[in-house]
């Protein structure tokens, strides 16, 4: 089950805003999918308005399964879902409204990107002339115009990723779904792909982006769905995630000339779970249940001159830290020492 915080958190903003829209992007009702005895997606309950979302989770978290359900490629074992107000497996018009860029390598041999795109556009029912025209347009958009008559298997990885993106947007879908679009891209390619997706999101169309490259995801959207073990751990905006992070137990390192005094003050506090003093480095390593209370206390002590603080480092709202914390909590772990929280 998602944590109490994440449930409340997911409802706080999006549930309210859902009422303003006639047609949600996603409506999941107890959505579950089993692969035999293995759980792919577990009891997802979520309603989201149209917009851009990042689906974050480690390998095997259920991202691809969820995308399979959203695209209608997989059938839910239990529960139901609607995407853009339609049942993906029953609607005759649904596939026209989505574009999918899968994570897998593009292994098309002996055909040019234009031939391949024309095929996929014509598969949507477009006439040959218009499919050719649209293929040229979209290849121009993704920066492959000069390589349109080059065989795909001779492309670099970045070019193949752009080619995959081209087929996803070629029929002008309302919802673009991308699974790990940054895989294998060099820094310039990543930046360009990020720009493309930012433009897409700005155009008012919906986007679902599954990725583990967190800082690039943050650049594109500030709305996140954190998934692990087929369950939704948390969802919300960057701001909400930061607030959630502030309330979660985490490791904090304090650099101070008065570590003795600070340690004795902190040791009395009930929200300190663990405290380690490194005398040589003049620092304290804390595991804190309630970071907000710690920050309040430190501010008071520092302003009254009781202690001097040179530097505080720890979780700063970084999504990766939050994710690790949420997974730890989800797993029922009591200790959060190995969260790797650093500023």
């Amino acid at each position: 089950m998602p944590t109490g915080e994440s449930r409340e958190f997911s409802k706080s903003k999006w549930k309210g805003s859902c009422n303003q829209f006639m047609e949600n992007l996603f409506d999941f009702q107890s959505l579950s999918l089993m692969y035999g005895t293995v759980v792919g997606v577990n009891d997802l309950q979520l309603s989201l308005p149209k917009g851009a979302y990042a689906l974050i989770g480690p390998n095997g978290a259920g991202k691809s399964t969820l995308i399979g359900l959203i695209t209608g490629s997989l059938r839910p074992t239990l529960g139901s879902l609607s995407v853009l107000g339609e049942n993906p497996r029953r609607s005759s018009t649904f596939q026209q409204r989505i574009g999918v860029c899968p994570a897998t390598e593009l292994l098309v041999h002996g055909v040019t990107s234009k031939q391949w795109l024309v095929l996929l556009i014509r598969m949507c029912g477009w006439s040959k002339r218009l499919a050719n025209q649209r293929a040229d347009e979209v290849l121009e958009q993704v920066g492959l115009a000069d390589a349109r008559n080059q065989c795909i298997h001779t492309y670099s990885l970045g070019m193949r990723q752009r080619c995959k993106l081209a087929q996803a947007i070629a029929h002008e879908p309302e919802l673009l779904i991308l699974d790990e679009p940054f895989n294998g891209l060099d820094p310039i390619g990543r930046h360009q792909m990020g720009d493309l997706l930012i433009d897409w999101a700005k155009s008012g169309k919906s986007l679902l982006l599954a990725s583990h490259v967190l800082h690039e995801v943050e650049r594109i959207t500030d709305s996140f769905l954190l998934i692990f073990g087929g369950r939704l751990l948390a969802s919300g905006t960057t701001g909400e995630l930061r607030r959630l992070l502030a309330d979660l137990p985490q490791d904090i390192i304090i650099q101070s000339e008065t570590t003795d005094r600070l340690a004795s003050l902190l040791a009395e506090k009930p929200w300190i779970r663990a405290l380690h003093r490194d005398k040589q480095a003049n620092r304290l390593v804390l595991t804190v249940d309630s970071p907000m209370q710690l920050y309040d206390a430190l501010a008071n002590w520092a302003s009254s001159g009781t202690v001097s603080i040179e530097r505080i480092s720890g979780s700063d709202g970084d999504i990766s830290t939050l994710f690790k914390l949420l997974i730890s909590r989800h797993r029922g772990e009591r200790a959060y020492r190995n969260t790797g929280a650093h500023s």
Binding site: S73, T93, Q95, Q96, T104, M123, L130, A131, R134
Partner: protein, 295 residues
Amino acid sequence: MSLKTTPTNISELSGTTNPNNPLGGSLIRLLKAVPGVIEYELARSFKPARIAMFLMMILIPTALLISVAYQVPEQLKNDQQTNLVFSMLLYALVPQILTMLAMLVLASPIVHTEIEGQSWIYSLVRYQGRRALLLGRYFVAVLWTSCAGVVVTSISVPFLPLNQPLQTWGTISLLCILASLAYGALFALIGVLFQKRVMVISFLYALVVEGVLAWLPAVINQLTIAYRLRSILFRWVGLDGDRLFQSNELVQNGMVAADPTGWVQIVWVLAISAGLLAIALWLVETIQYSFQSEL
């Protein structure tokens, strides 16, 4: 790079769909998509490997037929029995073995190669994409195989000791096309049903059902494609069908070949092909394929 949205409406561009009439829209979309797949597959086909395979498909049976014909003594060349043997040999080698094996290789793995090649997902997320792909690749396979069969027949017939070479050429060529359609539909259906070892399953089916069962003098052989093709052969290839049907008890009882005219058998073969293809087209949209690693 920047994304622009083109102002044109998709429905306008494609000129296809009426959202209020999904059935009509579906059919039109499918009919528009299939030629796209055929063009794409044909463009991909004209590669050295495929052309080499095509040449092998032509050369091996042609060489075999001509070399056997070359061994026939001159005095036996106009014999009725020789005519029967060579008609049967031509039929067995071309519409039966060549066409069946070629369709097995080309039609069975239609879905499997897409899944293996990680390109299945691109068809999955296009409405009617799977059907268009199946139909398009099926027609391309039929085209290649029929062409190979007709070419082999056309080259071989002038060298064979046949009483009515033109009639035999026409019948065997027609049988090549019918066999391609029917075996293509059969193997496409097997390919849709089975995702693993599809070639092995298809081969075993071809061997057991079309190879052995089709020749058993029992009612069950009437369910095979080979039985229908053979019936057309007996009627039309200049074997004096009436005499054959009257002289042999097994034939008379419809155990080896069906008695009705060749046209009825053609309708049978076309109906079998359409039926198998319709089932394959229905299944390919409804089966949930295990392509999980693809997404």
